[in-house]
């Protein structure tokens, strides 16, 4: 097969030889003076200037290394596709890559990442939140360093809950009760909105209900998705829409932004979303400015609340020509100081726990430091190289359960069967 695969490049190579040799010469000349490393990442929110200044600081501290940062397309699907195609082709065009929390085991299994265990000493691992550390560990080795963190939150309208004398709900039943009571008396107000379109975000939402009832998808090597806990959890989501009618049917097409809009216009009491929405709510002129509270998501009685972990990690391309320089960049970007700057200037949430007790940060970004409890409870989606296939199975089945095409039992037993099939076949 390799013959066929390589025939085409061999045939057309002569056409490009002049260009290629030109490039090589160019690179050689540069390397005499300094090492250039390429850093690929998604778009940095807001003003790009502070981020570039951070990289400039790194260059100043590390003479001889130059960092070219290159932005990938905005959609995470496209970024995944970019990495998969280039790494499969053993491209050494980039050295440091930022990865969504769900990709690390997959890339590690494919042999595309360097082992970075030596960058974090045994004692230093506790410095980071447990969720992301779990997500970057595959076969007991660490393949990436957590860069910034994200997790699902419950947003609520402080003013409305106060008016009715309610405290933020700790269990789902409470949330349903509060939402029902309030919507009965107030017009044009939704109870509880979340993300239910068939996409990755739906899985993030559903897992929070599973976990908050003691359920899970994969435990160790066992597939445990078809459990009573999960059936109850999934049924609750359907009931929120149909039986309790506190969630409008529109959530079955909603992603983050539409729900943020509705809540931001003061049209909902509760919303599940990521931390990014906070700054938008607190902007000058926002109808809900000063009226929003946040807390961990509710749970089932007697169970632990949980939220789905998001965020990005930095790893090194296995085929990189400058692994040493790349390591230095990762060490720098995930350091206490750099994460602090990043949090102060752009508002990205640090992955180091100690920063949540940092005085400057507590003063300047009290919202971020207030998220400590949420991030401690954040759990990664199933940490397995099969994840991308597993989520492709879960998305349509969960969607079917929410829209009433299947019962929760049917959907979950189908998920169980399909995941067993995937994991059986791929081995």
């Amino acid at each position: 097969m390799s013959l066929q695969r390589h025939l085409l490049p061999v045939l057309i190579l002569p056409l490009f030889l002049p260009f290629i040799s030109g490039c090589i010469q160019e690179k050689g000349r540069q390397e005499g003076k300094e090492t250039v490393i390429i850093f690929k990442h998604g778009k940095i929110a807001g003003d790009p200037e502070p981020f570039r200044q951070l990289l400039d600081r790194f260059e100043k501290e590390n003479p001889g290394i130059k960092v070219n940062d290159e932005t990938l397309p905005a959609s995470t699907d496209e970024q995944h596709q970019f990495y998969a195609i280039n790494l499969e082709g053993r491209s050494s065009d980039f050295d440091v890559l930022s990865m969504d929390v769900i990709w690390v085991p997959e890339f590690a299994r494919a042999g595309w990442l360097m082992d970075l265990g030596h960058l974090i000493q045994e004692g230093e691992r506790d410095e980071f939140f447990p969720g992301p550390m779990h997500a970057v560990t595959y076969n007991e080795k660490i393949y990436a360093i957590p860069w910034y963190i994200d997790a699902g939150l419950l947003y609520y309208r402080k003013d409305i809950l106060d008016k009715y004398g309610f405290l933020p709900p700790k269990i789902w039943d409470e949330l349903v009760h509060q939402a029902k009571t309030i919507t009965k008396n107030e017009s044009d107000l939704y109870g509880f909105i979340w993300q239910g379109k068939q996409y990755e975000g739906l899985v993030c939402n559903v897992l929070e209900y599973f976990w908050s009832n003691g359920g899970d998808v994969i435990r160790g090597r066992e597939i445990v998705v078809n459990s009573i806990e999960n059936v109850t959890a999934l049924r609750l989501m359907r009931d929120l829409i149909v039986t309790y009618a506190v969630t409008p049917p529109l959530v079955t097409t909603a992603i983050e932004e539409p729900t943020r809009h509705i809540f931001g216009n003061g049209r909902a009491i509760f919303m599940r979303n990521w931390p990014y929405a906070w700054n938008i709510f607190e902007r000058e002129g926002s109808p809900v400015k000063g009226k929003v509270g946040i807390s961990t998501l509710p749970s089932f009685p007697g169970k632990e609340s949980a939220s789905t972990l998001g965020g990005w990690q930095l790893g090194i391309n296995r085929y990189s020509r400058h692994p040493d320089a790349a390591e230095r960049l990762i060490r720098f970007l995930t350091s206490y100081e750099a994460q602090k700057t990043f949090a102060l200037t752009i508002g990205y949430k640090p992955t180091r726990k100690s920063l949540y007790r940092d005085r400057d940060l507590m003063k300047e970004q009290p919202f971020i430091t207030g998220l400590y409890d949420v991030f401690m409870k954040a759990r990664p989606r199933p940490v397995t190289p099969y994840y991308m296939m597993v989520t492709q199975v879960m998305q349509p089945e969960f969607s079917a359960a929410l829209s009433g095409i299947k019962t929760p039992e049917e959907a979950l037993s189908s998920v169980q069967r399909q995941i067993e099939h995937i994991m059986g076949v791929a081995r």
């Binding site: 066929q4 995944h80 596709q81 299994r109 494919a110 379109k197 996409y199 529109l250 509705i262 349509p396």
Partner: protein, 283 residues
Amino acid sequence: MTIKDSGYRFVISALILLSLVSIYPLVYVLYLSLHRRLLIFDISRFVGLENYLFLLKDDRFWNALKNTVYFTVVSVSMELFLGLSIAMLLNRTFMFKGIVRALVLIPWAIPTVVSARMWEWMYNTDFGILNYMLGAKINWLGSPFWAMNAAIFMDVWKTTPFVAILLMAGLHVIPQDIYHAARVDGAENLAIFRKITLPLLKPVILVVLIFRTLDAFRVFDAVYVLTGGGPANTTETLSIYAYKTLFQTLQFGYGSALSVVIFLCIGSISIFYIRLLSRGIKQ
């Protein structure tokens, strides 16, 4: 050297170019489709027709095929009907004819992804202009019944102008004398349409059908942006399924088998139309 000889030389250079850019990938996809190839697990081995046999048992494939066929049949027939009506209307002489013709083309000129995003907001249950105008709360993209039809509606909005323009060109070349003669013979409007316009327009209609059927069968961007295949895969078309298999789960073997099936479907549709077309011309 005769003209015929030199002709071969041009054809051969074109053939080489074509085989590099289109036949080589095609053969490679066929080759991949006979393998189990999972990038992440470094698995790549020959499995013969196993991927195709699995495809026969794969409910998700049959569901996607059903969706694709429904999308194609409904959207193409609506586009043809509406396009023909618009073409007939615009073929008359009236004031600002040029401007109106240009205006009609606007939906076609907007890139699909952009118009799909536009429609996504128009279909929004809460702020969407459609529900506002209807005074209803229809969950267009979220209900299993509406989602596919909503996607079809957007496609019809977008491509009807294209159909109309092609048909207008076809109407233009029908000699006016024939219409005059028919009128002199006392033919009714309907009879003129059935006996003169339709038969003379047939080759153009077939060309339009080829274009539109093939395009509709491969539909990806419009539906992907609107619904991502949901809810519960009720709008997942073959192209979306192949894309997810190939580029999201990186199953190159099975994804290639899916692509080959799409190719075979499209190939047979084209052959069917081309037969019709050549028979029409011979008559």
